[in-house]
Symmetry: C2
Subunit: 190 residues, 2 copies
Amino acid sequence: MADTPDPRVTRSREAILTAARELLVQEGPAAVTHQHVAARAGVGRATVYRHWPQPGTLLGDAMAGVRMPFFREPVPPMRPWLKQQLRSLADELDLPDVRAVTAALVQGVADAGRREQLAEAIGNRLGAALAKAQETGELRLAIDPRDAAALVIGPLFYRSMLELGPVSEAMIDRLVDTLGTWTGPAHTPV
Amino acid sequence: MADTPDPRVTRSREAILTAARELLVQEGPAAVTHQHVAARAGVGRATVYRHWPQPGTLLGDAMAGVRMPFFREPVPPMRPWLKQQLRSLADELDLPDVRAVTAALVQGVADAGRREQLAEAIGNRLGAALAKAQETGELRLAIDPRDAAALVIGPLFYRSMLELGPVSEAMIDRLVDTLGTWTGPAHTPV
């Protein structure tokens, strides 16, 4: 059953992924629906469903190719990576557009699945980063890993959604340090 | 100009405050509008405006009389007080109704003033509690006090709004400890 992929299938798949990524970046995760993606990619909705029968997996695949906080593979050392991700996330949440999309996502009862996916995607990525940091001895985790996303992203979220203000470097440092004890790269086992 | 208050004025003021508190408890802060309060109190909207020309001050006065987290005067020692407030807040945010009201408040562009008031009311109350804890030597604060609300309430908010789950005691402890170094009541200066 070693299929040679049909070039037309490959092309439509690529067109759909590109459309999904563009929608994600320009309008936020709530906009990545099969209907919107199909219209933007210039294919029928049935074609999108053939490639991605589950709506969530399309968003997941689109996220994997987009330069947004927490969506790319963690790169050690993890402390600077995490600080950079939190900085980008805080800066993005400070943009009125992103704030509006996030608020819509939080509110959307119809989009409950979408919100869960986003929370899960962020949580999994953060969890993988922390696991890697523990493996290399860079971090001695002091919290329940299931609380990590709430503890480090929750404050950025609150600042953006309720207090409507920017996030200082000192606050980012504090968030990273709340996870546990970090050792400098000098202490990483060689 | 030592006015003797007109008993009718006192009565309408009390009726309005009672209606505002009931609305706050039953439907959340977004429901405390002059229009809703007037209808519930059985007075004209102009009467509400006469007593509270600024919409925000009515919500503030209603909050002061309601048993909701962070709305009552802090009572030392502050560590157990704070833990209790965070526990209640987490439990309330876990109720679908409260979650819906909070989400609506976050989203509501029309309600921007209301959201700011709520964030400010919570932030001020928390700030007063932390100031008192420092005065008595109960707490050595390790963070910028302006970040306190985001750091301790943000995670509850994220858990409720994005992850839709309950908050463990361990997480509450972690939040309280992130503020700085607490000394037990035994260490409080006598």
